[in-house]
């Protein structure tokens, strides 16, 4: 139990809590719907080999 607790603690400690910074791996996320993206792209990793400018935006 103690080992499990320690493992959990380590797992949590390793989780990035801060915002994505230079040098971090971008989280792979799936597109639930998309328009005008790369043909056939379903997730961010489909863009490997390309440089991506990702903007997180909101509609007001």
């Amino acid at each position: 139990m103690k080992t499990l607790g320690m493992a959990l603690f380590l797992a949590l400690a390793a989780m990035p809590l801060a915002a994505m910074e230079k040098g971090d791996e971008a989280p792979n996320f799936k597109f639930e719907a998309q328009w005008g993206t790369l043909p056939g792209a379903k997730q961010l990793t489909d863009y490997r080999g390309k440089i991506v400018f990702l903007e997180i935006w909101k509609i007001h």
């Binding site: 994505m20 910074e21 971008a26 490997r48 400018f53 997180i56 935006w57």
Partner: protein, 263 residues
């Protein structure tokens, strides 16, 4: 979103060179998003991604990121910070993505050349194994060929585009880049073409215009109305035979005040 025209512009200019713009939002009302896209006639990649703010731990809006060929974050900032100079820096370091797995042993030489950035040799070594009877080996060889062929095609497309638009300076740059990476006939041809381009008057004119445009941008800071028009006209008179004249024309109008919330 005030930055839309700006992003559309970058998108049009760089998409053929391997740069993609994705605007991700987690808006749950699909109809609202579709309506917005249709209304604005967006010509950008737009994706609905549930919980995207949490996923990237965005701290405010708008936030944007540059992500490299291996999926690593190389830049974070305000979308307004996206400009040609920044994208050009990214493109300069653009390499093929790291191999996602250890390749089958007979591909060791291809892998070694790939990692060392000798894409011509890697392509040649992998091409020889495309018809191998071992399925895993064949698939690995096909992967390497697809990635590198795609890269060569991207350079070809970029060269075509620059030639068509009259950017002889950028044409020479892209040809030299291809020549550096592809140690094969394709690379050799690119190298020869780059040399030819660099010997032309058009190349010299474009290089001078590019430098002059950077200076013009500095000069225009804080200038208004007639002063701007005069500087732009002068540039167009001196560099009118280059595509940079068009870029200068776009500087005639004063830039709008940056939006506080960006949208």
């Amino acid at each position: 979103m005030r930055f839309l025209p700006h992003l559309v512009q970058v998108n049009e200019k760089y998409r053929d060179k391997g740069v993609e713009i994705i605007m991700a939002t987690d808006v749950d009302k699909a109809d609202a998003l579709e309506k917005f896209i249709a209304e604005k006639g967006l010509k950008l990649g737009v994706a609905r991604v549930p919980d995207v703010y949490k996923l990237v731990k965005a701290s405010g809006y708008p936030t944007s990121y540059g992500i490299d060929v291996d999926g690593k974050c190389i830049w974070r900032g305000h979308p307004q910070g996206l400009n040609d100079a920044l994208v050009d820096t990214w493109l300069k370091d653009m390499r093929a993505p790291s191999l996602p797995r250890e390749l089958a042993a007979p591909l060791a030489s291809a892998a070694q050349n790939y990692d060392a950035g000798r894409y011509g040799s890697a392509l040649e070594a992998a091409s020889k194994l495309l018809k191998h009877k071992d399925d895993k080996l064949k698939a690995d060889a096909q992967y390497v060929v697809d990635v590198l062929q795609g890269r060569a095609d991207m350079y070809k497309a970029a060269a075509e585009l620059f030639k068509k638009e009259g950017y002889h300076d950028k044409l020479a740059d892209v040809l030299e880049l291809a020549a550096k990476e592809f140690d094969d006939d394709f690379g050799k041809d690119c190298g020869k073409d780059a040399k030819k381009v660099k010997g032309t008057k058009a190349y010299k004119a474009c290089t001078e215009a590019r430098e002059a445009l950077a200076k013009l941008k500095e000069t225009l800071k804080g200038k208004k109305g007639e002063d701007r028009a005069k500087a732009v006209d002068k540039f167009k008179k001196e560099h009118g035979d280059t595509p940079y004249a068009k870029e200068a024309e776009e500087l005639r109008a004063e830039p709008k005040e940056p939006a506080k919330d960006g949208h």
